[in-house]
């Protein structure tokens, strides 16, 4: 019996095809790739030690030896920008990962089990969202003390409410659909119904949300570090390098110390947001604007 | 007495998009409408009946819509050629329109009264108390009880039938000479449908309006229209008076439509015939007669040549290669 070959594209493949048509997002992805490579393979692009002091060459403007000049302790700014990018990107990814996990777990609990679980989780999001994110983070950061791991936990632990709400909304919609009722009638356990039958449907709307969570986390780290409450020196991050600009003399006379990390942060965040925008269009052409 | 028609459309062609994806929604549409006459344009959804009238009103979205050719004379002016401002002054004043779904066609954030008074302000220069009183009178005229109070309500506070009545009040506010009714009863329950049709018939007599009634339902058309145009895939396939159309339909498509109407003389349980197949995709029309793929009488000629328009009686025309065959079969097609 002759059978016609039918190939059905997976949703991810369809999304990727649509994403490629989003020209700005493709450019952004390429730029992002360059930045990630520069940071990840920093030793290949710089001969200096990011922590190496050189009192003989402090506060030097950009030159052939020091492409972006040196800071107040004679460390090479270009080198510190690349190594700082590593830290900023890792914090951004880790914190976004953490907040997404928390958001998914709480969103699923709230949406699937409803009743008092929903009540508790939703009131908790209300309470956390009553504080502007950075505000409460400043207090927590001041008490827990600065540090890379603390920053990840602070950002991840306080940025989950929007994700939880999104997941809850999706789960609520799915809960009453026939295939879920069918799964329940078959006597499948809640864990299997949730992970195998419901979560795959939540992924698409979540993908763009995760990208925006990464860019938000990068900015949050930069903001905390800029105020001196994030990752402490001497470890470079884009945020604590920009802290130099809080010194009016450096801001005015030695802008090469803070402009490079500022530009890297902006371009990185802009590119991630463009990629996120492209992903959102790719996964759902209806919804064009999401949570900021 | 050769009275000038109220509306005279000639050779209207409207398409959407450009390049390979271009869709010709209306092709070479022509008709005349006399003062006080009721014309029905009938066809399935996507047949171009609504686009025809929206093109004339200048309310199709452009882009992607393009009016490629044609004229539409109303009161001596070509609606397709006059400037936007002059057309705007005619819209809502001399030519008014009633839409299918009054829920989405009325603005949810403005009161029903406001949506009427703004027309009176714009076209008749009425303001304040005078406009409000006139709006109440209009609502009363279309049969809305307690109009003096309901004028301040929002569309969502009206029932479906009441909303359509309000929509009609809105349309007749400035005493239009031409009313375009775009399937105004389709979204309503059958009993409400009848009320709305009676209302429009009454208003038509009282105000002597010309009406173009767009519908996919020949049953409705029989109750209100004097002349009928049947469209299929953007083209006119048959035009006739209501009597001729029902007594002696010439085009196989019209015959099919009539056969699918339920009749009172039918035995209970008797099979209702419907035309097999689907209307063609407007972006890939067959080269010949668009109805050929579904037509039981279609020949090779039908599939390659666009059928000529043939006069079959006084004011009765049809576009079909096989009219002789239809006549020999006395309008009985294999599926009827």
């Amino acid at each position: 019996m002759a059978m016609t070959e039918v190939t059905i594209d997976s949703p991810a493949r369809v999304a990727w095809r649509r994403f490629r048509q989003h020209r700005i997002a493709m450019v952004a992805l390429a730029v992002l790739g360059v930045i990630v490579i520069l940071c990840a393979f920093a030793p290949f692009f710089s001969g200096y030690d990011p922590l190496g002091l050189n009192m003989a060459a402090i506060r030097q403007p950009p030159s052939a030896e020091h492409w972006l000049g040196t800071d107040t302790l004679g460390r090479d700014v270009w080198t510190r920008t690349l190594y700082g990018g590593r830290v900023s990107l890792v914090i951004g990814l880790a914190a976004a990962f953490l907040s997404t996990i928390i958001g998914i777990v709480l969103g699923v609990i709230s949406g699937y089990f409803g009743k008092w679980a929903d009540m508790v989780v939703m009131r908790a999001t209300d309470v956390v969202m009553a504080f502007p994110p950075i505000i409460i983070m400043l207090t927590v950061a001041a008490f827990t003390g600065p540090g890379l791991v603390n920053v990840i936990f602070i950002i991840g632990g306080l940025r989950w409410p929007p994700t939880a709400r999104l997941v809850r909304g999706q789960i609520l919609q799915l809960r009453d659909q026939d295939f879920v009722t069918a799964a329940r009638t078959l006597g499948l356990t809640n864990a299997i119904i949730i992970t195998r039958h419901m979560l795959p449907h939540v992924v698409a709307p979540l993908v763009a949300n995760i990208t925006f969570a990464v860019s938000l986390a990068i900015l949050t780290e930069a903001g905390l570090s800029f105020l001196g409450l994030g990752v402490p020196l001497p470890t470079p991050t884009w945020g604590n390098m920009m802290e130099a600009a809080r010194d009016l003399r450096i801001m005015r006379e030695e802008p090469w110390m803070w402009i490079p990390p500022a530009i890297f942060t902006l371009i990185t965040v802009l590119c991630i947001n463009f990629v996120g925008d492209g992903l959102r269009d790719a996964f759902d052409p209806q919804q064009l604007i999401g949570e900021k | 007495m050769a009275a000038q028609p109220l509306l005279s459309v000639d050779g209207l062609t409207t398409s959407f998009g450009r390049g390979p994806g271009k869709v010709r929604a209306v092709a070479d549409m022509s008709f005349d409408l006399a003062e006080g006459e009721v014309l029905a344009i009938v066809g399935e959804s996507g047949s171009g009946k609504s686009v025809t009238m929206r093109s004339i009103m200048g309310i199709i979205p452009m882009p992607p819509g393009v009016i490629e050719s044609g004229t539409a004379y109303f009161d001596g002016a070509d609606l397709l050629a006059i400037d936007q401002e002059s057309l705007r002054r005619l819209r809502g004043k001399d030519i008014a329109m009633v839409f299918q779904d009054a829920m989405t066609s009325l603005n949810t954030v403005l009161t029903v009264g406001r949506q009427i008074t703004e027309v009176l302000e714009e076209h008749l220069g009425m303001t304040g108390r005078a406009a409000r009183d006139r709006a109440i009178a209009l609502l009363e005229e279309v049969g809305i009880p307690d109009a003096a109070h309901r004028i301040d309500e929002y569309p969502h506070q009206f029932s479906g039938g009441m909303r359509q009545r309000a929509m009609i009040a809105l349309a007749i506010a400035c005493g239009p000479r031409l009313l375009i009714a775009d399937e105004p009863t389709t979204a309503l329950d059958v009993t409400i449908q009848a009320q709305i049709i009676d209302l429009v018939v009454g208003l038509q007599t009282a105000h002597d309006m010309g009406i173009v009634w767009i519908s996919h339902d020949l049953g409705v058309v029989a109750r209100i229209a004097q002349k009928v145009i049947v469209m299929y895939a953007g083209r006119v396939v048959e035009r006739a008076t209501v009597e001729d159309l029902f007594d002696a339909p010439a085009h196989p498509y019209t015959i099919g439509l009539l056969a699918s109407l339920p009749r009172l003389d039918q035995e209970p349980g008797e099979h209702l015939d419907s035309i097999p197949g689907q209307p063609p995709n407007a972006s890939s029309l067959p080269p010949g007669c668009a109805f050929a793929p579904r037509c039981p009488l279609a020949t090779e000629t039908c599939r390659v040549e666009v059928p000529p328009v043939i006069t079959v009686g006084d004011g009765h025309k049809a576009a079909c290669h096989r009219l002789d065959e239809v006549r020999q079969r006395e309008g009985r097609l294999p599926w009827t």
Binding site: I24, R123, A124, V127, A130, F131, P132, P133, I134, I135, I136, L138, T139, A142, S215, A222, G223, F226, L227, L229, M242, A245, R246, L248, M251, W258, A262, V269, L270, N273, F274, D277, L288, K292 | M57, I59, P61, R88, R89, L90, R91, G92, A96, M97, F99, D101, T104, S105, L106, N107, T108, V109, L110, E118, V119, E122, H123, Y154, H156, L170
Partner: protein, 319 residues
């Protein structure tokens, strides 16, 4: 409408209560207490351990946490936020004054963001796919990716340091008390604060307008012969505004965050700078009060947003 507001207010009470618990708990989690903080050699030299213990007892610091919480809450409910540890001034008065200053920056920033954001959103929606639309939409994307502190240092560097158009910080020039001088100090931080929100509002308005302009009632309005201006403003915009209003309300927390950064960068004596300074110096009573005031401010903004939403959309009014 009144019932709706009352119901919303009642719903806010448990959230508000949890907020006070959280504010208190945060401080509890902080290592050490007020006395430990003061017990550094410079400030409290000469105090014996017994003296410190007596001080603890007198300040009620040895009571169990719930007792201290109720004590604090009781004071707060009577408008008593305690004394600042650093500034020796009642926290209530201090906050009130600083909050007023912040409101000037946030008020101007929000006003500019709303006016220009919405106008640009309408403008671009009406000219979709034009060069202007593409340019403004792209810039808005840069805008939403631009955090207040980076925009702040760049603006300070360019407009104050390099161009010298604006003072580099503060709220008033010493000894000058004119409105003009005040505005001169306010305008740069306020405009920077408005950027991110302007971009957000512009994008929402554009999106919302594009959606609304396709609706049938807009076609009806056109078919009624309404002039384009009325079709756009009365029929489309009234509907298009509904989601934008929600967005304005939700942007308030971000506005406060922006104020913390910009007031710090521009040395502007507002609540944001007070908050940051207090966090750095661990001025507990001020931190607690500021957290509380900010949370109440955010909750109030949410409430106003929901009421405005109900007022603007008649379909909600009756529910």
């Amino acid at each position: 409408m009144t019932r709706y507001i009352i119901r919303r207010l009642l719903l806010a009470i448990p959230v508000l209560f949890m907020v006070t618990v959280l504010v208190f708990a945060l401080i509890e989690l902080a290592p050490g207490d007020v006395v430990d903080f003061f017990a550094n050699p410079e400030v409290m030299a000469g105090m014996s351990e017994a003296d410190l213990e007596a001080l603890r007892e007198r300040l009620g610091l040895n009571d169990p946490a719930p007792v201290r919480y109720l004590h604090w809450l009781g004071g707060v409910l009577q408008g008593d936020f305690g004394y600042s540890l650093i500034r020796s001034e009642p926290v209530g008065e201090l906050l009130l004054r600083r909050f007023g200053n912040s409101m000037m920056i946030m008020g101007i920033g929000l006003f500019v963001a709303v006016t220009f954001g919405i106008s640009l959103g309408i403008y671009t929606a009406l000219r979709q796919y034009s060069v202007a639309d593409f340019t403004i939409s792209f810039l808005s994307f840069v805008g939403i990716s631009m955090p207040a502190f980076i925009a702040g240092i760049i603006a300070l560097y360019v407009f104050s340091v390099q161009l010298g158009w604006f003072p580099a910080g503060g709220m008033r020039s010493p000894g000058v008390h004119t409105l003009g001088d005040l505005l001169h100090h306010l305008i740069l931080p306020a405009l920077v604060l408005s950027i991110i929100h302007m971009a957000t509002f512009m994008r929402y308005t554009r999106f919302s307008m594009l959606d609304v302009l396709k609706q049938e009632y807009v076609v009806t309005a056109t078919a009624k012969g309404m002039p384009r201006r009325i079709v756009v403003m009365r029929h489309a915009f009234r509907n298009g505004l509904i989601p934008v209003v929600t967005m304005i309300g939700y942007s308030i927390p971000e506005l406060v965050v922006g104020a913390v950064f910009l007031e710090t960068i521009f040395s502007f004596p507002g609540m944001g700078k007070l908050y940051f300074d207090s966090v750095i110096s661990r001025d507990f009573p001020v931190i607690m009060a500021a957290n509380l005031v900010i949370a109440v401010f955010v909750l109030a903004a949410n409430l106003i947003t929901d009421v405005a939403y109900a007022a603007i959309d008649p379909r909600i009014r009756l529910e």
